[in-house]
Symmetry: C2
């Protein structure tokens, strides 16, 4: 999850910086990525920048028009609906498997993560709460023990972050955000499969509806 060592290769480093710029909103959707400008900014030549851009394209953060270059991908309401719908399938599947594999230790970790959400609700920034929120769900996916599944989750998480950045509004009540994770934890503790899947489904669906509605509003021309 976190950078292993500071000495990663140049392409990865560049890709990470561009990703940060996108998910934090410094690079707006639709913004053009000119290779020369980026290479100057990073103090490298164009080659590593191109490769980094290709990497980000495969992750769905940027799109490339042949002969025109790379642009920050503009996520639509339809995109977000698909992403969250897929996430439902993915995360419920992960939870179903995880339920069989989790011991008290793993569940305790999730509980601590929720505590962290509460703490950030009181004292932290919105961005850090969003980040830790994703960590919670990633831990759930990790508990499935399926590396391939985790990889897909990470890709979805990146896209969701890229989309959500525009939207601090969703998190107007950070305390409530933390609360909504409780039913998931409760079901896990009980070992109730039906309840777990139901709680997760509800949790994600609520987020989906909020995000999609907001995007539809933006597309309709409300304040960005």
């Amino acid at each position: 999850m976190f950078s292993t060592v500071s000495t990663t290769d140049l392409v990865t480093q560049i890709a990470r910086q561009i990703t940060e710029a996108i998910v934090t909103g410094k690079l707006r959707p639709g913004a053009r990525l000119t290779e020369l400008q980026l290479s100057r900014e990073f103090g490298t030549s164009r080659a590593p920048v191109r490769e980094a851009a290709r990497l980000l394209e495969s992750q769905g953060l940027v799109v490339s028009n042949p002969r025109r270059g790379f642009f920050v991908r503009t996520l639509t309401a339809s995109d977000m609906r698909d992403i969250y719908e897929l996430r439902i399938g993915l995360e419920l599947h992960a939870a179903g498997i995880a339920l069989e594999r989790m011991g008290p230790a793993e569940i305790a970790l999730l509980e601590r993560q929720i505590a962290k959400l509460y703490a950030l609700a009181d004292a932290g920034s919105v961005e850090s709460q969003i980040f830790e929120d994703f960590i919670f769900h990633r831990m759930l996916c990790e508990a499935s023990g399926n590396a391939r599944l985790i990889k897909v989750y990470d890709e979805l998480a990146t896209e969701m972050r890229a989309g959500i950045t525009l939207i601090g509004k969703l998190y107007d009540d950070p305390h409530r955000i933390a609360e909504t994770h409780e039913p998931i934890l409760a079901a896990l503790k009980k070992g109730d499969r039906e309840e777990l899947l139901s709680a997760l489904h509800y949790h994600i669906t609520v987020a989906q509806e909020a995000v999609v509605a907001l995007f539809e509003g933006i597309e309709r021309g409300d304040a960005s």
Copy 2:
């Protein structure tokens, strides 16, 4: 699904050729991909080859060791188990959504696809049947209407093909392969959700067990 025009850009073209070489087995798992050799083979310079290799890395077909280059990814039994396990979650989710959206026309297309499988069982090559088998399941995913989900399926399909290539043995009774799709179709026609998910789950699990067992055998040192 198929190439839109013959004039795709160079990187895509190279990536496609390397992919073909991998999934057809011409490039064995673990084989080294030297940029110079590939660039000579394609009559280009190294730059497009590098980008194509990066693309394939993001698809999980090749891996890169920094300063050492690219190698054809060696899929393990554990990898295949994860891939098929994820596929179960993905495809069942897709089917659940698809059930609501499919009309007689879409179901008829699936029926024709099964007919094609029978035809290939009688007269076709194993490879073409494998291909059309994947098409059947892709059609099911397409019916979900979720583009993001389809993208993940395509990635999984590529990895499965890369793994399965070694294995013509799994398709020793091609007629039976076609048959195993019938229960899925039957459930769809009935509109029985439970039966559909159950049939799909069984169908994929059977494949998973066969593939994983084969890989475990290979890892144990049986004939490759």
